[in-house]
Symmetry: D3
Subunit: 190 residues, 6 copies
Amino acid sequence: MPQPDHVSALPIGDPARLDDDLKAVYAKCVEKLGFVPNVLQAYSLRPQKLRNFIAMYNELMLGPSGLSKLEREMVAVVVSAANRCYYCLVAHGQAVRKLSGDPELGEMMVMNYRVAKLDRRQRAMLDFAWTLTTTPHEIGDAHRAGLREVGLAAEDIFDLAETVAFFNLSNRMAYGLDMMPNRDYHRLDR
Amino acid sequence: MPQPDHVSALPIGDPARLDDDLKAVYAKCVEKLGFVPNVLQAYSLRPQKLRNFIAMYNELMLGPSGLSKLEREMVAVVVSAANRCYYCLVAHGQAVRKLSGDPELGEMMVMNYRVAKLDRRQRAMLDFAWTLTTTPHEIGDAHRAGLREVGLAAEDIFDLAETVAFFNLSNRMAYGLDMMPNRDYHRLDR
Amino acid sequence: MPQPDHVSALPIGDPARLDDDLKAVYAKCVEKLGFVPNVLQAYSLRPQKLRNFIAMYNELMLGPSGLSKLEREMVAVVVSAANRCYYCLVAHGQAVRKLSGDPELGEMMVMNYRVAKLDRRQRAMLDFAWTLTTTPHEIGDAHRAGLREVGLAAEDIFDLAETVAFFNLSNRMAYGLDMMPNRDYHRLDR
Amino acid sequence: MPQPDHVSALPIGDPARLDDDLKAVYAKCVEKLGFVPNVLQAYSLRPQKLRNFIAMYNELMLGPSGLSKLEREMVAVVVSAANRCYYCLVAHGQAVRKLSGDPELGEMMVMNYRVAKLDRRQRAMLDFAWTLTTTPHEIGDAHRAGLREVGLAAEDIFDLAETVAFFNLSNRMAYGLDMMPNRDYHRLDR
Amino acid sequence: MPQPDHVSALPIGDPARLDDDLKAVYAKCVEKLGFVPNVLQAYSLRPQKLRNFIAMYNELMLGPSGLSKLEREMVAVVVSAANRCYYCLVAHGQAVRKLSGDPELGEMMVMNYRVAKLDRRQRAMLDFAWTLTTTPHEIGDAHRAGLREVGLAAEDIFDLAETVAFFNLSNRMAYGLDMMPNRDYHRLDR
Amino acid sequence: MPQPDHVSALPIGDPARLDDDLKAVYAKCVEKLGFVPNVLQAYSLRPQKLRNFIAMYNELMLGPSGLSKLEREMVAVVVSAANRCYYCLVAHGQAVRKLSGDPELGEMMVMNYRVAKLDRRQRAMLDFAWTLTTTPHEIGDAHRAGLREVGLAAEDIFDLAETVAFFNLSNRMAYGLDMMPNRDYHRLDR
């Protein structure tokens, strides 16, 4: 498959010269996914920052939480849709397709999450994600009360807020560096 | 001094039950600042996330970079002004006052950075921060070329983008949890 | 395949009672596509309006024009992305995939057309589509001059403007009636 | 009366060379209005598209509907006010003055429909028109339920949505081609 | 002629109990215009504020200035169009019609000033008025330089800025109090 | 203390040539504040306009009203925060600090008034100020009813609206002329 024009608008680190712990991360990606996600390659220009990014990402998206992994990915896509971030929509849209086994759900998250038939809990989470992304000053106690009402514990609200916050970070890294996603995502889990 | 009404809208971790590494962070804060920043207390509800947040923050704001610490703080305040984030404006506005020795500069960053008489490099950095925060889809090659023209190396552009991105994260954590800053900041470095 | 929850929030016409010309349209759709697009079913509540819609659509998207059919579909998707219209993104995103043979191009049009590597002519057309959709009062002589410069004749500019205008109509019909697209589109041409 | 500087930024068709059916339309306009509306002249660059536009327009604005002709014109003006479309405000503002016999009502529709003392049905229709024009993603079941509550049947909601949608089309044709309205409208029905 | 439903959402002062200087203003209005503008009646709830408003208004709109009275009225209408202020559009739209003898010019200022064929000086003034009203933070030295280039002296720029500023005040008074204009304006100078 | 780079982008009047009444105003400012506020110096380019500005300002901010002086200053700062007006935030932020004796309250008004713990009356006033500034067309009877409910008399609503309106004027004068505030404000009342 032809590779994309670029990984990042900035130079990327030479994989052969990375520290061993980062080489191990790359190797694990190739083993599990078949490729190294371009975001890691783009971040490798600044290895310590790459290390911190991976640590935060893994805890956030893969660590223990009252939010399911699918819910976290749905939030990731809705935030990225609000910001129209190509990289994250491609990569996390695929994750929603894979974790849900429902390609339409992935498309809905990308295009307009409001058309999806969701339970009240998930709808409330995604509305919160949209508002905290686009007009954060509108978030108030009523929103947190609404989340509690549909069953979120304090830790869940924390995890939801951090997921929204993190993708507002990563969307802006993708725009700031013009990161392009690996083409491999497109055909997966259709 | 009376303490603020709350640190966070969510419960916070009991300082006495934190792991030793986090206790050490708290102790160091008290030693250096005289208090534990409320953002750390708010994050302590989720200790591993607190650890990751601290690691990313320290590398970003205190680690080696072509951007001076003052420049990073100026970016932090301009992002937080765009998002009207009270917590970060209070905490990082103080940092600008302290690092610059110029209280007016701090006020300008908080209120409207465009009135400040800055050199072209700093003005370009802050314009980039504003645009990447408020309308990230407008960022393109021309903006990165503009940054190179005023002397930023690739690593500097990376660090600038990550600073903007990080405060878009932390502003949303502050809104999502309704974090209030320690009152101690207000009177410092006026 | 299970059918979507609804075609439209309003009742739809009984296919068995449609006039013969409209029955013929339905039959032709089944023959060519395998299904009747839900937009036609939704419009069948008002048969004369359906007739007019089909006539305008067919001339616009399939009739003779200096814009290729793929270009017209790309414009359709970019307008629908600006308006976040699920129906039109699903249906015309598939058309871009099919006509271009390039599924990634379809995704780029849906998610953020600015990341696509396009020639100047197509980029100018899509920029015009975005601006005429989102901030029409900004369109002026300079935009039309820019289109002429990349080779558009007067008739091409007309056709481009009408394509943009038409999908601003159809996006609002989809929102106004809560039209849902046929599920068949999702798996086609991946 | 001196004629406007231009009808359209693009060339217009030679009236003498139009097909007979279009010549008949022009003749009927002159008979009824005293002039050929510039929108038709502008569209005559693409005669088949002109034909389709006329068919859709006539059914929409003059055909049978649960919405009165005045109500349809009021919607046309409110949509055009949201988009600040000079052509449509001039032409349909006159239509509101004529059909209502109330020049102030025409002005209110042009300037700010919210100041008009309308019954609940008309106010709900115009609020729907404004929202579907400016923030279509906010339209949901509650809006349609609100329209039913003030007496609109399913067909009426369809006709309302299509009127809003159509003027979002025609406003963008006017902007895209820089159409100027016939000066004749200005003094009529004051 | 029937009077409007209300002058203001708040009570208005009793004309018979006004101080003599304000009675004289009312009398002069009746003599010159045939009626007392509703804005004065609305302001009479607070007589000293009415006095100050009249003084500022008269100097601004009728006093000596490098801007013609027509130009000041054009600015008034463009600001009021940006804010969609019914009261000021009605009252000052009429003033533009009267001072210019060109009813179409009045309509253009109300509906979309960009369609008017103006000289560079007037176009620059109106662009400045639009930007200072809608996105004041974008005004910079380049805008003032642009005004000087088309012939405005420092005093003219001052007067232009104050006209824009004043109608941003009066538009908000009209909204804040729900002031309705005298119906008499509608038929004048058509 | 070093003086700011400029008072205004336009020339200012020579203090020695001002009329006696304006000289007296300047003298009183020096007596009471220790300096002449730059807004007065900037306005002195047009002495009669300066006179009218002072008259309106003094009545509004210092005259009898159901709104306390602190409340009027809080409104001034919230309007200026919405418009991001450096001059007015500096000058009136200091006034809030002084009148309230609470520097944090001043910061909250500047940065994000929604974080302040206010009684219902003050919160309603500031919400009204924000809405009338940023989206005046949304103000309706419900907002005025809300103000009456928290105890505002008709005259108080008038005064509130005029305070909001006036700072929308003065913010635009500051932007239009690029007025810079006296540096003296920064250190006062911290």
